[in-house]
Amino acid sequence: MIDRRSLLTIAGAGAVGLAAAQVGHAVNSEPPVQPPQDAVGLLYDTTLCVGCKACVAACSRANNLIPASGQSGGLYQEPVALDAHTKNIIKLYKSSDGRQWSFMKQQCMHCVDPACVLACPLSALEKGEFGIVSWKGETCLGCRCCQIACPYNIPKFEWSQLNPRVVKCEMCRQKLARNEAPACTAVCPRKAVIFGKRTALLTEAKSRIAANPGRYYQDRVYGEHEGGGTQSLYLSHLPFAMLGLPDLGTRSIASGVRNVQETIYQHGVTPVVAYSALVVLTGHFWKDLRHHAEDEADWTGLKEQI
């Protein structure tokens, strides 16, 4: 059944798995992607938000989205989650005993090194001016790689349309072009979400933390480093995980994927070397195979089969 030599080989294969698992985690020499110079962003503070949802309605208006008003019979807007006509939403988190609660604003995080942009086959998603992640329809295949890739579950797809679009917050770039602030920040009565340069927002967030010791979870700004950094930043009095912000570590997902692919492909050298080696080996044995087939054809009187 299994002799000693085979056992050693199996152990070797196991060691490959073990070692590769370690190496894959430890070695990632790629320098982290830096936010662009002109990066803008949003800063949302859970301690200021009163959940009025003015930003939700303003977003729909500014982006010509049909308000989701199915449950209210068309009286007012009440989307339950981000969807193909909701780019921005306020949700309420409540713990099971009801003692801990918080509002939470969801929209695109505009990652510094976005996974959706990495995943998109024909560059329909791109990180452009102001570091805004935006979608252009001309080359989009509708493959939904962006939806699989986004750790925040942001991009939405028009499932019922014949020419479906990918819908996500683009930080009101049409308004930015007119020197106006994004709709959600412009209408917020409590300045719970503010717009600005990413560096300025980080300074503001840190001064709020310094001025209010103990108010914010871990005295941390979510998005400064999380998942390689984001341009939408969060201050929260509750653990970020409760608000649906995943613990991603400081490396971006995109950087991890590039690292694995680079290890395998070595700038495209591997496929070329592999192909050449395969040509040499198959070419060598092909002659053997042909001679053998020709011999058999002679001997049997049947046609040679390749």
Partner: protein, 409 residues
């Protein structure tokens, strides 16, 4: 009777059997529903949603079933690179299963995407995103289906065109073409081996980009390695299963020497796969999670049992020599392997609370239709072309004009 496979020979029985019509019916229904999906949209035809954005088409018909269609790749490596000449008689069966599995996979991919007309932009290098795994998969798979596999599958077609009743000019042209194919064969074969190595591993990398949304029992930087190794195991196992079933149905002798040695190879490959899989789990400190007995741990243990038990049983020579028993063991192993390939894409994919996915009836029928279409292609091709392995005796009998029909009658 001598059961030694030496050549390839067409099955001499009629193509249009009840089984053929049944399969054609299922395939036809699937294709009609496929057209309906293009008109009605993805929401009407499938259960896919903003959480589970990929459904049966991509995750089952492409990611899972092209692994079964990797026989042309795995047996190609054995025959042409490792010079295991004895497997040559199985090459055509392997290449046929590959081209069929991949062709229907590509149709599934085209059905799945929401804006299919934009495929034209694949021809525009300026919009290519070389970092995108799906881009690489799409490019390598198209090249494999549209160039490499067609090239490899040319031989039986050209042989057929060389025979009566085709006119003299066709026969001569086929003869030239065959000579050309023979001359450049190693270059084509090498391409047909390099491309699947890339896209079968990339099908694993595809889920890397989902990061923490794939449960840590499956999410690992080794996904590409584990996926390509599993493609190798499943590819060989499926060719074996297809040949064993074909020989049983069309009353052909089974060359147990070849079958047994391939089965042995499958089980060895699966043992290596298991070693890498478990080594990786240990290396990432996931053994405790594997034994936690929650949903994911149970799923993992089912997968492990479906792969490990038949693999170990197939280490016993008497099991391998028994066609029926090894067929069952291979079928169980294939189920486990397919489960492994499918799980990270759907079962262990965690898009967040509030999302649920179970394929809709239409989606299932379309998916089944693609499989039936491949079966139709198989039934037709093995009866019209010299694909399935046969003994020398049968081939000599089959080569005498008029004998084939008599034998069938």
């Amino acid at each position: 009777m001598n059961k030694c496979w030496r050549r390839m020979l067409a099955v001499s029985s009629p193509v249009l059997t009840p089984a053929f019509w049944l399969m054609a019916g299922i395939a036809g229904l699937g294709l009609v529903l496929c057209l309906w999906r293009e008109v009605a949209g993805l929401a009407a035809a499938t259960a896919m949603n903003d959480g589970y954005s990929w459904g049966m088409f991509k995750n089952f018909n492409v990611t899972t079933l092209t692994a079964l269609g990797s026989g042309g790749y795995a047996l190609g490596v054995l025959t042409y690179v490792l010079n295991r000449r004895k497997y040559h008689t199985l090459m055509r069966t392997a290449l046929l299963t590959s081209i069929l599995a991949y062709t229907v996979g590509m149709i599934a991919l085209a059905t799945d995407i929401g804006r299919p007309w934009n495929i034209l932009h694949m021809a525009d290098p300026f919009v290519w995103n070389p970092h995108s795994i799906l881009f690489e998969v799409a490019l390598c798979m198209s090249a494999y289906v549209m160039i490499a596999l067609d090239f490899e599958n040319l031989a039986p077609l050209l042989e057929r065109l060389e025979e009566e009743p085709f006119p003299q000019v066709v026969r001569e042209l086929a003869g030239y073409a065959k000579r050309f194919v023979k001359a450049i064969y190693p270059y084509g074969v090498a391409l047909a081996l390099a491309l699947p190595t890339m896209h079968q591993s990339s099908l694993g990398s595809l889920m890397l980009v989902a990061g923490p949304r794939v449960h840590p029992l499956w999410q690992t930087p080794l996904l590409p390695l584990l996926y390509v190794m599993m493609a190798w195991v499943l590819g060989i196992a499926f060719v074996e299963a297809a040949v064993m079933a074909s020989c049983a149905v069309w009353k052909r002798p089974l060359d147990m020497t070849i079958v047994e040695s391939l089965t042995s190879l499958v089980s060895w490959s699966a043992i290596f796969w298991l070693a890498v899989r478990l080594g990786d789990l240990y290396g990432r400190g996931q053994i405790a999670a594997a034994l936690k007995m929650d949903f994911y741990s149970r799923l993992f243990l089912v997968e492990l049992a479906l792969i490990a038990i038949p693999t170990l049983l197939l280490r016993i020579r008497s099991v391998r020599m028994d066609a029926a028993r090894s067929f069952v063991a291979l079928a169980v192993l294939m189920t486990g392997g397919m489960l492994y390939r499918y799980t990270p894409t759907t079962l262990a994919f965690q898009p967040g609370a509030g999302y649920r996915y179970f394929p809709s009836v239409t989606e299932l029928l379309i998916s089944l239709g693609f499989i039936a279409l491949a079966v139709v292609g198989y039934l037709f091709t093995v009866k019209r072309f010299a694909i399935l392995p046969a003994t020398l005796e049968m081939s000599i009998r089959g080569a005498v004009p008029g004998q084939k029909e008599k034998q069938a009658a």
